[in-house]
Symmetry: D2
Subunit: 133 residues, 4 copies
């Protein structure tokens, strides 16, 4: 990922720490990909009927992480209110998705890997929220 | 839009009123398209340098509305915590974008139309938030 | 939808017919929403295991239609090569999704409504492709 | 990124080489982030009026790469026609965006880093296209 390299090239001031921002974007992008892949892997399992809620939560979390990564990749015309609210929604989606995936982590390796990505992403969002204030 | 028709065909229970949900999804989808178009119209204006913040807020609002419309279009494995948090983020994005567009509504018709879409969308999100509880 | 109203406010030349563009964007936005809803409705059916391919194709078609609607909502710095290639991909996704949904249209009303949205969207993309040249 | 780890956990057959797929998804996800950041960095430059086409192409490329990464992260109910057409559209968007960014790479480091991400992504898409056939 070139997130940190791109962050360094931004030609004006950024209101938040560039390293913290870049780490959070990387966690979001990884989590979004893991959730998209986990939804599809769940869909292929024999017990798909028992994974409906997991698939749905994965799809929500993937969409929310992608959008949050985009918001955090923009610095021009910064609006702390949007950043804060979207980070809160994203932390919630990651918590819900981690909980749901953990219910199946013993049986499905994809749920285990995905739950770990969700946990890291939730932590990154929470840390950044503290910095946003 | 077939939002309401699709909502009626969902084969299980939906925790929220189907008409209210469909109206909100329609407002979100309209707002997302208006914001994408407004960002691009601003980019083409002679005074683009003075519209930087408007363009950025439009881009955020478009992404957030698209994601929120998707979350509200899913009913399987409903999680009120995700729905509520994403609706709050979306209402905030719409408020910020309406405010920003209104600064230029006298000069730019696209900002005027977009601000109206943002206002309707923010109202729909707020009404649905009350129903989510 | 304010697509046509927004299209009229664009302050510079547009290389394609504004009415045709607006109709295509509307068809794309409707199709994307229908596919997101159909994927979720399929996920809730008792026979979800037999709807795996339909769900997957719906998810692809939703993502591709959303992206294509955004490309067509931008006119600044028009690049016919991107527009053409993305329209071709979208027409293909709509054809595949219509075919897949039609396999279940007798049993599932959501697949019937979705197949019709896909067909209209494929036709709009094909008509616009002819104009792009 | 956990792309390769997630790819390994998919519980059924995948029609394409898992390593090649994972590398391509990683290139797409990186390119999408770089393009989102480059659009925003361009928007902040003093000479924003001369970067309009670059911003627009960045926005298209970001959307198209995100969608293509999602299509390639799904393996259930594989449809070579959708994969091929979306990869072709993505390779085109990356070529156009690389060309556009390269026009400003001497003046703007973000355009230089972004052009390199676009080039790698275009190569990955082209390599995968050969495998899709």
């Amino acid at each position: 990922m070139q997130t940190s390299a791109m962050m360094k090239t931004y030609p004006a001031e950024i209101n938040l720490d560039r390293d913290l921002l870049a780490r959070t974007v990387d966690a979001l992008v990884e989590c979004s990909q893991a959730c998209t892949a986990c939804a599809d892997a769940c869909l292929s399992e024999d017990m798909v009927a028992e994974l409906r809620k997991c698939i749905r939560t994965n799809l929500d979390c993937a969409d929310i992480c992608t959008t949050t990564a985009r918001v955090l990749s923009r610095h021009t015309g910064y609006d702390a209110n949007i950043t804060r609210a979207q980070l809160q929604a994203c932390a919630q989606a990651c918590r819900s998705c981690e909980d749901e995936c953990n219910l199946h982590a013993d049986m499905h390796e994809h749920c285990k890997v995905c739950a770990e990505s969700c946990r890291r992403c939730e932590q990154a969002c929470t840390e950044l929220l503290a910095a946003v204030g």
